[in-house]
Amino acid sequence: MQLFVIQLLSGLASAASLFLVASGLSLIFGVTRIVNFAHGAFYMLGAYIAFTLTDRFSGPFGFWGGMVAAAIAVGLIGAAFEMLLLRRIYRAPELFQLLATFGATLVVEDLVLLIWGPDDLLAPRAPGLAGAVMVVGKRFPSYDLFLIVLGPVVLGLLWLILHRTRWGVLVRAATQDRDMVAALGVNQKWLFTGVFALGALLAGLGGALEAPRGAVNHAMDINIIVEIFVVVVIGGLGSIEGAFVASILVSLVNAFGILVLPRISLVLVFLLMAVVLVIRPWGLFGRKEGAARASGAVVVTPWRPLDRNGRLAALALVAVAALLPAVLGPYGLAVATEVAIFVLFAASLHLLASVGGLASFGHAAFLGLGCYGAALAMKALGLSMVPALIAGPLMAVAGAAIIGWFAVKLSGVYFAMLTLAFAQILWSIAFQWVPVTGGDNGLLGIWPSAWVASPARYYWLTLALVTLAVAGLRVVIFSPFGYALRAARDSDLRAEAIGIDRRLVQWRAFMIAGMSAGLAGALFAFLKGSVFPDTMGVSTSIDGLVMVLLGGVETVSGPIIGAVFYKTLSIWLVNHTDYSKLVLGLVIIALVLVFPAGVAGSFRWPGARAKARSRAPA
């Protein structure tokens, strides 16, 4: 009983800080439909600014004043970010804003390192709440009690703002139907700025409140971002109450779960999210997203297969690529091989995200399954390289068949998050199942057979397979199946009316994409000689999305250009600067501003003319 009460309270205290951050994310998403990756960065900034202020100004006034000031400062940073950057790209395709927020996250990570240094920082404890009080005969931190009270208070304040002010009414209206709000003459610009600032302020406050009970460190953003997305999705996107209930649910299940299964925390939130999404596809308090009125006008130019000249040009490019061993040394070829592998990875994600309109946040799962499939075929079954290269995609397609079956029941961000959940579950299996996968120490000694052992030969093998696979994906895109996939993306109802089984089409696309990514993964395993769980981690999935988005969602060739550009740039930057994240982030932000349709897509931007043309024959 004593343990029950204490675990309950401990869980509720964790829930409070989770809720603050998650509620901000949910608000921002609900109104602006932006998947704000920078939310973790805002949280971390809040903690660092609070550290500086509370460290300098001691005493109760200095401490609590510092907390509030840190939150407000982050709110202002959020407002500035929205006004200077996001405001310029609202008209860009859906998810494109994710790129800007991802760039901002990279920039903040290095800035924090530059400003506050590498060491973990210890913020002072809260004056008056430094100690513990006796609860059911045990010492319980009074600061945690304060947090337990603060959670519902913030929820109440948000409720009052949203339900008792005109601004709040507009925010709720925009959450339900922002086009209608715009049509009624509401100035969306300021509404968005305000919501973004409030969301950032909540994240900053969450970070500031975490400072007195942990260490302020520069991994705070990564360590929270995925978890708060999960909370927001479990609760239902855009729902503050949902975020509140979900954060309590997540924290309590964790607090009690570890009593029974001490290793559960690693995967718990993702299991919970997968279960919730399978049962309630729009989260606990969420609603089915309105018809895609806002995003329906995204694709502006019809795609065409390459004509004769285009094919010749593509062949010429492949020929040039095949001649690279004449000029590149072993290292240059290894980089070129890696780039080629990621071209295939990005192209496979493009089939889902652009052609199918199903942006996956867990596509790295299939890259990883390909890696492990190939590695296990070699290590456990003793097969040689060629069968292992087949085993990789097979394992990936098997995984895609299972995951896809559940995932294609959803769409939009819910689809993205369910794929993320499955990817994380697979990751934790690879991470924990030490006898088979080697855990985080991975599987070693996955080197290519002698006949392709030289860097040039392995490069040619990769180039050949990647070229075939990418060409195959293009054939799929322009086949009747590809048209059906696009039809299902553009209008579910109309597609159904002409007899297209949306789920079946999307499920098949999911498997094709998974298998292609699996081939990329198998090639990757032999390139690196070893396989580790981090290949299927979130950051690899995000890298893939960044490549697709950078290239341009609306183009067929975008992912190829995006992958070549992003991969080469990031390898080069890591080599040439200590602050590669800062530079990479700034480059991404600059590209987002200059090419709001992606690098490849921008040859057709602005698309006013094209839009008119594509609308006419419809």
Binding site: S14, P141, R213, G329, S530, V574, N575
Partner: protein, 402 residues
């Protein structure tokens, strides 16, 4: 981009081909390829970099090795094994380094070790603690400087066995390092003390500890003692929460790495008293070797050394000794020279064992204490690493013998 890479590659190819015709025409430098998680783990890698830079400066000031200056080409792996392999590839293929060195994370170290085996390059690992790198996944091309997980567990288990505690519990991050630290410690302590019981274990994910819930789960099992393997931000959170809740009161705590300045210093006024830990009391090591190192380090950087500084410094000293003994940058000759080579570290002279390529460098154990609002180690003792190894016969069964 592509053009630049190509030009870069061409230049590198040209320089390699110039260097190839034999030792006589090789430039008067020896290149060492160094890889570490500079962007992923700056709190360790910054002092580490300062350490090896100091060592290189000192070696070169004395005329280098055989009249050749040492040059370190340093790369960032961002904490990812795959990126470390890319970096290793560049160092070996393009930069023409004589050998590889460095790495922090165990999985990164293992990936580079496997690369070294495949490409037949010498790799001297600095920090990775996993036993696998010298034992189950050991290979003839890979050496490791720091005392392994096993050695540190053995040192702590020795101390722990002296405690009266009978009911033990463990808290460790849920990945290979935490798992193997707990497994070895349990095995060694149970062997010395058959009377003890293991009553609870907690495995929070690294970087995401829910400290309150974890500590209450431990407390509920009423242990006499706690083994902790948490470090970094997780450790700070665990300690703060435990201090407030009184979980550590009346209990012995044995803790891996907590006495290293990297992890002890951030605890400041929260430093718990009386934890038995491994670490590095830089203020309390009064040997001539260490005093000389300390003075040189402080003169150059106006900062005190962390354990990372010692690792970086000793690593490059060891490499210089290997190169001097081999008199060549031929990999086989360097491996032959490295086995049994003697070199100086701030902790005294050490060598690389021929049997498993593990250095005999040791570690300090001590007790944590709070002094002037800062954490320090008291009652420190230096343990030689080789004294805490299993017998040679057992090591042979642990390591692939071919």
């Amino acid at each position: 981009m592509k053009i630049m890479t190509a030009v870069h590659a061409l230049l590198a190819a040209a320089s390699v081909s110039l260097a190839l015709p034999g030792p006589a025409s090789a430039a008067d430098t020896i290149k060492i390829g160094e890889i570490n998680s500079y962007s992923g783990l700056p709190s360790f890698t910054e002092p580490y970099r300062k350490g090896w830079q100091l060592a290189i400066e000192q070696v070169n000031a004395k005329g280098g090795v055989d009249g050749k200056k040492l040059e370190v080409i340093s790369k960032d792996d961002g904490g990812k094994p795959a990126d470390a392999v890319t970096a290793a590839n560049e160092l070996v293929s393009d930069d023409g380094v004589a050998l590889l060195a460095g790495t922090f994370f165990s999985n990164v170290g293992l990936a580079v070790a496997d690369f070294a085996k495949q490409k037949k390059v010498l790799f001297v690992a600095g920090e990775p603690l996993t036993d696998a790198i010298t034992w189950s996944k050991g290979n003839r091309y890979t050496f490791r400087l720091r005392p392994s997980n096993y050695e540190q567990a053995a040192m702590l288990a020795d101390e722990a066995a002296k405690l009266p505690a009978k009911r033990w519990s463990t808290i460790a991050p849920n990945y290979e390092y935490g798992q193997s630290a707990v497994a070895v410690f349990k095995k060694l302590l149970s062997a010395k003390r058959p009377d003890i019981q293991w009553v609870a274990e907690q495995w929070p994910p690294q970087g995401k500890i829910d400290a309150g819930a974890v500590l209450e789960a431990i407390d509920a099992a009423k242990p006499d003692a706690i083994l902790n393997v948490e470090f970094g931000a997780d450790l700070v959170k665990l300690v703060r929460e435990g201090n407030t809740r009184g979980t550590f009161q009346g209990r012995s705590v044995v803790s891996f790495l907590t006495g290293e300045p990297e992890y002890l210093d951030p605890l400041k006024s929260e430093t718990p008293a009386g934890w038995i830990v491994t670490g590095y009391p830089w203020y309390d090591v009064k040997t001539p070797e260490h005093e000389a190192f300390l003075k040189a380090y402080q003169d150059k950087y106006h900062d005190y050394p962390r354990l990372g500084s010692v690792v970086g410094y000793s690593l490059m000293n060891g490499i210089a000794a290997i190169l001097a003994k081999a008199g060549s940058t031929d990999t086989d000759k360097m491996i032959a020279a490295a086995e049994g080579v003697a070199f100086d570290t701030p902790f005294g002279p050490v060598t690389f064992r021929a049997i498993d390529h593990q250095s005999t460098m040791g570690a300090f154990t001590g007790k944590t204490a709070l002094k002037d609002g800062k954490g320090v180690l008291v009652d420190t003792v230096y343990h030689k690493g080789s004294d805490f190894m299993p017998s040679d016969a057992e090591v042979k069964t642990l390591r692939p013998q071919n």
